[in-house]
């Protein structure tokens, strides 16, 4: 366990960084009712790293993820993904960047009900107009334990199975970075545990750089590095922390 008071990440290693964010601020509204969701955040995520972002609700963790993923724009600051500065990109370029470099896993799975499991998995490739690599898709489906479920529709799958389809979908393009937004938030604890194992396994097996936003200590504990946000600032960072370590920090923050 290593608790560091210096909250910044490894700034000195941008060469193999998947994401680099500098001085991010985000303000909602104007004048007296303005809310500062982010108030100056620097962050680097290295390739092959699993980073968890934690914090109480309203801490700005979701805003941070949305900005890093190019879904929202910062009020100031810069974000580079795979060496591209994204904050100034127009919608089409951003979309293409998401297509090539970013994978998403959502809390509510967001599968298309009329497509079967396999079709849902290859959907990002279809949208990009690319042919799926059959062996890669097969291995992903096998990895996710969906080999015998590939022709099933979402309505015929359990919540855990649906989320596994969603993970396979996010990995199919081999994205530079995968964003997981409360991936276990809509699952029971046993199934949630299985999903976390799969996320960890994909980092270990494929070196998949991953940023996960969560408020569950158990989920955060699988990360290589945990960032704690409060009032729009990174206030703490843990490495290889246990669930207890995480809970301890959480308690100290909310106290």
């Amino acid at each position: 366990m290593a608790v560091r008071d210096q909250p910044q990440g490894d700034i000195g290693a941008p060469a193999n960084g998947a994401v680099e964010a500098r001085n991010l601020t985000r303000r909602y509204g104007e004048g007296e009712t303005a809310v500062d969701a982010l108030r100056g955040i620097d962050l680097d995520v290295r390739s092959g790293e699993l980073v968890a972002v934690m914090g109480p609700s309203g801490s700005g963790k979701s805003t941070l993820m949305h900005i890093l993923a190019g879904l929202d724009k910062p009020t100031s600051g810069t974000v580079e993904i795979a060496g591209t500065e994204i904050t100034g990109l127009d919608d089409t370029k951003l979309t293409r960047l998401r297509r090539e470099h970013i994978g998403f896993v959502f809390q509510f799975f967001n599968l298309l009900p009329m497509l079967d499991a396999e079709e849902n998995v290859v959907l990002p490739l279809a949208i990009a107009g690319e042919k799926p690599d059959k062996s890669w898709v097969d291995s992903l489906l096998g990895q996710m334990g969906l080999a015998d479920r590939r022709k099933h529709r979402p309505s015929e799958l359990s919540g855990g199975q649906q989320q596994r389809v969603a993970i396979a979908r996010s990995l199919v393009t081999r994205p530079t970075i995968l964003f997981a937004d409360e991936p276990t938030g809509n699952l029971d604890s046993k199934t949630g545990g299985e999903i976390l194992e799969l996320l960890r396994a994909s980092v270990d097996a494929y070196g998949q750089t991953t940023v996960m936003v969560t408020h569950e200590a158990r989920a955060a504990a699988i990360a290589d590095r945990i960032l704690f946000l409060e009032d729009g600032l990174i206030v703490k960072e843990l490495r290889d922390a246990s669930q207890q370590d995480v809970l301890a920090v959480m308690n100290s923050l909310t106290a």
Binding site: D72, T92, T95, F104, M114, L115, I127
Partner: protein
């Protein structure tokens, strides 16, 4: 609960507005129809009252039987000697005699006409202006070889007083000087009609009524009532004349216009009804979708203690409110439509008399009742669906409605509905002795049921059909294309109902095209079968009769081998009014008739004073064989005894001959001022430019006569059909527009429903363009589905009708079918513009968080 329903509507303004548009358009057409026809009726009523303002009693010729009003036959004139007798009656202050009829104005060798509006001429009495139908506006009343012309025509053709102009009525063209300009009654224009006035001797020459009158108008001495005057005149009337009070005459004159306007009104109302019917599909569908999306809200209401009844009522109330708002808006739009129609008619040269818009209470009441009723009826099914929302749905994510108790009977039920519909339609078409009303009712209800049944059945075929129709999209549209196809197949019931609205419109336009193609084909076939070769001479407008002198002039053309002049008019035969025709011996060389019972074209030469030939139907109906006897009575009351010399079978497309045809000489003996309908000329050496030029030269004195080749004749004769066709297409386009709004509505609601899904797609790399393409493609697939089903149904219905109607063969209007399919695609593209823009503009983040 009612306030919940109303507030919900207020919150969903866009959806409510889109739903309401369907009803607004239908109600607008109904209101517009009433306003238009009521206004015209009012104006015409005013005109005729004005025309007879100074007249207390009129005497007119009386036909020997009630005229059909279809065969250019008018009541016979009477001897001018009646006029002095009437003037001599003790209670008559004054009386004026007049003649009138079709009179064509001729400028630079061309007939002046505006569209198909009539060209009318009357005699006027310069000394008795108060008894004239025309009112002098400028210049003087005409003297010998002078005329007055209506001001509207004068302006349009830039005519001036003192100008020379040609006039042709029943004889050759006369040259006259314009002495003044007039109004008809108080109206400056009469729907593009040209009006001219002459002094009596000139008019009698023009209309070939020397020594005869069509009408006498009498003015009573002070203190004598019109009724008393009429009674006094009745005492001295010769046979085949009648007397009416001025007021009664005005009413009688207005009757023809009025019955035409009543027909126009029913005709237009039918299209308003169709638009509303289509609108009801749109409403039912929109409400159903809204209810599916409000499952949670409705379930919450149920958990809070709302009964099924209350839920149902809230939906019906919503329908009622939409119906009321839409109907009121529709009445407003309808008034605008009425004004627009007047302007439109004006723009195409058919200026209608307009004394201001007439909005009767009846119009408002009918529009409100129909609009609200249709909406409420359409909301019933969604309302019952809503009651199936279980309270537990409040706690579930994305729960769906449980199927109803009768869901499993649905396919059988809808098939049964379709079958009953077809049965009724076929019964109406082929059963005997139903009467016009019965036939129309049976056909109408049958067609309605077919549409409902097919719409319900369509849900069963929506998946495979969307699969097929979407195939090109998946090939060329990439992921957006295949997702669009999947989306179209996702909720087959919704896709089918949306498509069905368009289906109705397209089925009807296809049906109309099949009919038109059938008429054209059979007419062309008939002309080819019947008419050997040569030229046809008709009036410039293709249907007015032309003077016999024109036919006689054509007969003198060098190189003429044979000429057949066909005359026609009403006749009374076996106590029924039929169209009778007459032809000369030249017909033997012109027509290639199919004679039954060993007849031959020699019949044409043998007709003589008492010979006749009849068509097979008439022969069968009246048990006529060769040698049978019959009597033909003309409107003049004169009759001729005939015996049957030939029986012919006309081709499917009809023939120029009526059920009974006699010789032209016999005709001219019993009909007053006979005229030709057509003249067919056969030239030596067949058709050639020189032959045509010779005919045209010969007919120079008859500018209203038009020389046409066989092909031109066919095209001209069916050109009227094309105009009717275009009017029908425009009117049916309205229901297509209604269904277009239905597609817009479904797409908008679908985009609402799939907001989060769209957010996800955008997040994982779908561009805005791809999103728009996806919505657009789904729209086109839906529209094409409606198009394909509609066109197929239209062809079936058209085939049935063609099988029933004697003078139509079935013809596939394949060019139109392709155009309609393309039109369906265009409808799909247009409908998608707004929803696709909306979907493309969705904010990814907000969409992802949308519930």
């Amino acid at each position: 609960m009612i306030s919940v329903a109303l507030r919900g509507m207020a919150r969903r303004k866009l959806r409510t507005a889109l739903t309401a548009i369907a009803i607004v358009l239908g109600v607008a057409l109904i209101t517009g129809t009433y306003v238009l026809t009521d206004s015209i009726k009012g104006a015409f009523g005013g005109i005729f009252t004005q025309v007879y303002r100074g007249t207390d009693a009129t005497v007119t010729g009386k036909s020997a039987f009630d005229l059909s009003g279809q065969n250019n036959t008018t009541a016979p004139p009477f001897a001018q000697s009646l006029l002095p007798k009437i003037r001599g009656l003790p209670d008559v202050a004054d009386a004026v005699g007049g003649v009138g009829g079709n009179a064509h104005l001729i400028l630079q060798g061309k007939v002046v006409h505006f569209g198909g509006a009539p060209n009318l001429g009357f005699s006027v009495d310069p000394k008795r202006p108060e008894l004239n139908a025309l009112t002098l506006v400028s210049g003087k009343w005409p003297g010998a070889n002078q005329l007055v012309i209506d001001q509207a025509t004068g302006r349009k053709k830039d005519l001036h007083i003192g100008q020379l102009i040609g006039v042709q009525a029943n004889g050759p063209t006369l040259r006259m000087t314009i002495s003044g300009f007039v109004h008809f009654g108080g109206a400056a224009s009469l729907g593009g009609a040209t009006l001219s006035g002459f002094d009596l001797p000139t008019a009698q020459r023009l209309f070939q009524r020397i020594g005869k009158l069509d009408q006498i108008r009498a003015k009573a001495k002070a203190g004598v009532t019109p009724a008393k005057l009429a009674a006094e005149i009745r005492g001295i009337l010769p046979p085949h004349t009648q007397v009416r009070t001025g007021q009664a005459q005005a009413k009688s004159d207005a009757k023809d216009t009025e019955s035409f306007l009543n027909f126009l009104q029913d005709f237009l109302l039918a299209f308003g009804g169709i638009a509303l019917f289509v609108g009801s599909f749109v409403i039912a569908n929109s409400l159903s979708i809204t209810i599916a999306q409000r499952t949670r809200e409705l379930a919450t209401l149920r958990t809070l203690g709302a009964t099924r009844r209350q839920v149902r009522r809230s939906i019906v109330w919503e329908g009622l409110a939409i119906g009321a708002i839409a109907s009121v808006a529709g009445i407003g739009v309808g008034l605008g439509l009425g004004v627009g129609l007047f302007k439109l008619f004006d723009a195409v040269g058919f200026t209608l008399p307009n004394n201001g818009l007439v909005l009767h209470t009846r119009t408002v009441i009918v529009a409100l009742i129909v609009g609200i009723l249709v909406t409420v009826l359409a909301s019933l099914r969604p309302a019952f669906r809503a009651t199936r929302v279980p309270p537990i749905a409040a706690a579930r994510e994305g729960s769906e409605l449980p199927p109803g108790r009768f869901a499993k009977y649905r396919p059988i039920g809808s098939a049964l509905l379709t079958a009953i519909g077809f049965a009724l339609l076929i019964y109406g078409l082929f059963a005997h002795g139903l009467g016009t009303k019965g036939v129309l009712l049976s056909m109408g209800v049958g067609t309605l049921l077919i549409f409902l049944g097919v719409a319900l059945l369509a849900a069963r075929f929506a998946r495979p059909l969307a699969w097929v129709l979407g195939a090109p999209a998946t090939r060329f549209g990439g992921a957006a294309g295949s997702l669009a196809r999947d989306n179209a197949r996702r909720n087959p019931q919704r896709t089918a109902s949306t498509a069905s609205a368009l289906m109705i419109g397209l089925a009807l336009v296809t049906l109309v095209s099949v009919m038109a193609a059938g008429i054209t084909k059979s007419f062309r076939g008939a002309v080819d079968d019947l008419w050997v070769s040569g030229y046809a001479i008709t009036a410039q407008n293709n249907f007015d009769p032309i003077p016999i002198a024109a036919g006689n002039a054509a007969a003198r053309t060098p190189g003429v081998q044979a000429i057949a002049n066909v005359r026609g008019g009403d006749a009374e035969i076996f106590h029924g009014v039929h169209q009778a025709t007459a032809v000369g011996p030249g017909g033997a060389q012109i027509f290639n008739m199919k004679w039954l019972d060993g007849g031959s074209s020699a019949v044409f030469r043998l007709l003589g004073p008492h010979g006749a030939f009849v068509d097979d139907n008439f022969a069968k109906k009246h048990n006529l064989t060769l040698g049978s006897r019959l009597t033909l009575t003309a409107p003049t009351g004169k009759s001729v005894d005939l015996h049957v010399l030939g029986i012919f079978k006309p081709p499917t497309g009809g023939s120029p001959f009526g059920p009974v045809t006699i010789s032209d000489t016999a005709w001219d003996r019993i009909y007053d001022t006979p005229q030709n309908l057509y003249s067919f000329v056969r030239m030596k050496g067949g058709e050639s430019d020189a032959a045509k030029a010779a005919l045209v030269r010969q007919l120079k004195a008859f500018p209203n006569a038009k020389v046409q080749t066989k092909k031109e004749f066919v095209d001209n004769q069916i050109s009227g059909l094309n105009s009717i066709l275009n009017v029908l297409f425009v009117l049916l386009a309205l229901s297509v527009i209604v269904s277009l709004f239905g597609i817009v509505n479904t797409l908008v609601l679908t985009v609402f429903e799939r907001t989060r899904e769209l957010g996800m797609l955008r997040a994982i790399g779908m561009t805005r363009r791809q999103v728009r393409r996806m919505i657009r493609t789904e729209s086109v697939i839906t529209a094409l589905m409606g198009g394909v089903i509609g066109i197929a149904l239209g062809l079936v219905l058209g085939g049935l009708l063609a099988a029933r109607i004697d003078f139509i063969v079935f013809a596939l209007p394949w060019v139109q079918v392709i155009i309609f399919a393309v039109a369906a695609v265009v409808v799909g593209l247009l409908a998608a513009i707004f929803p696709a823009r909306r979907a493309g503009k969705l904010n990814v983040l907000e969409a992802l968080q949308y519930e």
